[in-house]
Symmetry: C3
């Protein structure tokens, strides 16, 4: 009998590519122990939350996770009030901030910023989103929710709908799903197709997928619909935005055609991609994702800080 133990203490969480399949499963297993857990095991620990790009949602979710475990939080929500506004390099900011905390959380508009931060400190660094690149704790909470709702992470038919070009959430999750054995449906308008590098990765990993523009061409036995906000701020052309924003709206009528067994996911915030008439549908999982986000982040913070419950 072989027991494999993974140590996560002191590690960074920058990209899902840095973590192997069994490491991901270890994190998800550990996270189940943090459902509703509120003991101050992180008392005395401090998280620096550096948001060079605003994201109240992610900041609050991590803050809640620290609060629930008794830890402290400091930082800034907006780069305009940071020393960056005075022209300081990111490397310098990190080398100063590491004196204030035990773990660093960073959101930055530039791809690779979180990796650069990690290269400049011995403290664990968590990527809370860098450009259109990675957002690993979002992916972990998505995996956690999929397993919670469907009981497994393999042998699923998963449809991604809407903005597959700019959505960091979708990119990060799809890449991670190549660790598992599923069939993917990629549904988007022509102008918002999955970028070629991700398609190449699916091909290289032998993942089965179909690209389509038509929502209703999705197989009726799809297990999960993962839809995303078409983000105007990522969109260069406002006319193009107006054209596509309503194209993939789903509501109770649309879902009943696909089948009411389906699990409906969304990273939130939503505009009108999902009708509120689905909010009490048994398959609606998007508010569960928000709750699972705190659970998963509690586990990640404790694991990287080397504290176990």
């Amino acid at each position: 009998m072989v027991t494999v133990t993974h140590s996560f203490a002191g590690r960074d969480l920058i990209s899902m590519r840095d973590y192997k399949r069994d490491e991901l499963l270890t994190i998800l297993d550990e996270a189940t122990l943090y459902e509703g857990f509120e003991q101050p095991i992180l008392a005395g620990k401090v998280m620096a939350s550096l948001f060079f790009e605003p994201s109240t949602r992610t900041h609050l979710s991590f803050s809640a996770a620290m609060n629930r475990l008794g830890g402290g939080v400091l930082g800034f929500a907006d780069a305009r009030v940071s020393s960056t506004a005075k022209g300081e390099s990111l490397a310098d900011t990190i080398r100063v901030v590491e004196n204030y905390c035990d773990i660093v959380l960073i959101r930055h508009p530039m791809e690779g910023a979180a990796r650069l931060a990690a290269d400049n400190t011995s403290l664990p660094v968590i990527n809370a989103g860098d450009g259109t690149n990675q957002h690993p704790t979002q992916t972990l909470l998505d995996l956690y929710t999929i397993r919670q709702k469907r009981g497994r992470l393999d042998n699923l038919k998963i449809a991604f709908i809407g903005d597959l070009k700019y959505s960091r959430t979708v990119h990060s999750l799809i890449e991670t799903l190549t660790h598992f054995d599923n069939e993917l449906f990629l549904v988007s308008p022509q102008s918002l197709r999955m970028p070629p590098e991700f398609i190449e990765e699916l091909d290289a990993r032998g993942t089965v997928y179909t690209e389509d523009e038509d929502f209703f061409s999705i197989a009726s036995d799809v297990d999960i619909i993962y839809t995303t906000r078409i983000q105007q701020e990522r969109f260069p052309d406002p006319i193009e935005y107006e054209k596509v924003k309503n194209a993939y709206r789903i509501d109770r009528a649309a879902i009943s055609k696909i089948g009411d067994h389906v699990t409906i996911m969304h990273p939130l915030p939503r505009l009108n991609e999902i009708s509120t008439d689905l909010d009490d549908h048994p398959g609606a999982a998007y508010f569960d994702q928000a709750r699972n986000g705190v659970t998963v982040r509690k586990a990640v913070l404790a694991m990287l800080l080397g504290v176990s419950r």
Copy 2:
């Protein structure tokens, strides 16, 4: 002997209209136990403080109350950095935020927003001000201060001075005073008179009141002067603002005509409505109101969270 016990655990505090006279008295009695009390009875509890409209004063007072009782605070001070800026509905925001906390504090520019928030979560919600409508903890601290200074909440002559049209603080307090038996003097310029719906309510409840434009027509035996900042931001016409802003300024000379026994109240911040030469007047109660605000909010937070000291 009949013992009436009220349970406040899990209740919302949206409008003073939702609370009966004896419930208000119970809160005020409970609050006296929180004067200077600083034990961590709310350790592990988290308040989400959602300010869709800035109000440093109210946010800090509630944060101080949580801090003094060992609880945690998270949230935002400015809607521009929240998901609302991305177009999220208030209902969605609340359904996400309820995963981060045990109690929700909300300030919103729109009347009815706090009620809408409460309808979308099972957590207790406290209204920290919605439009020109309600600000119930301000009213509770005002009642607390009145009782502290005058020893009773009935049989008082109370003059409200200045902006009676836009002041949420005045509206909320006057409505609540209809539970008690007092004589009111409503002193304002013609353009800032108490709105008809509040006058109708005073009539319906049989409250004795006098409306007047002239400050010195107030009976010299008035017990309390409650004056308010004439808020430029609520004022549609800047010329009108200039005309009235100095009309009801009070100073030591003015007060000595009314009688030095009077209690002088103001919700703060003040501009020049109250001269600083009154700051050490024995009747000046406005900084006491600020101190009582923390005391009352400690009690309210603990009561709604179902924790007793």
Copy 3:
């Protein structure tokens, strides 16, 4: 034998001029006990952090100090969201905020603002920078770092380089160094010379100093180089700024001419005044200053709050 004990409980820290040489040494000695110290000796204590001018760095450093000692922090990072924006006087703000906390931290663009704050409350007040005047905890951490790196605070040759006109950090440190016996080199362009009032003070105190425009005229046996960012925001003329901003840049080649035994200090953030090729130079002390800032602030907070470890 005479034992002198200083009580710092309840005192303000507004200006280095208010503290005698032996009091400064007592604070520095006490601070050594706080290196890496993280027990919750300030549990239940609350610091109000009032930043009428943004300074993430200072705010985070103080917040880290409170967090490490178990204390709470509340306040605002930006006067635009405070009641000041509604026209409230600083005196009123302080008299309200004193109800929320045990100690007040204030950063304000106006010289004398911290003193005015202290005059309006019985709580201890710490000046976190007022205009171009004082920033006493910056000076304390600088002294702490000098003693840490050179083993003494007397008999040193210290060169100040760059903006000697606008740098609050330099003014505050130079004034304090008049308590000690050192030789100073004041190197700046003509337009950024040390203001006459500081020169007069050096003369009056009999401090030995040399003013120069040329960086390489510094004696090769200088012990410390203290260089500062030439702050564009303090500079009235942008053309003048462009002319001088690169004049005093130091790098490894420049330092090797002066001697590699030198200690290199900078209050951070830096732009390009110090080349990153010096970051792993054994004399580079600027990131140590950042770390020492938390240590010194832990000591100051505990001492003023009357809590000893």
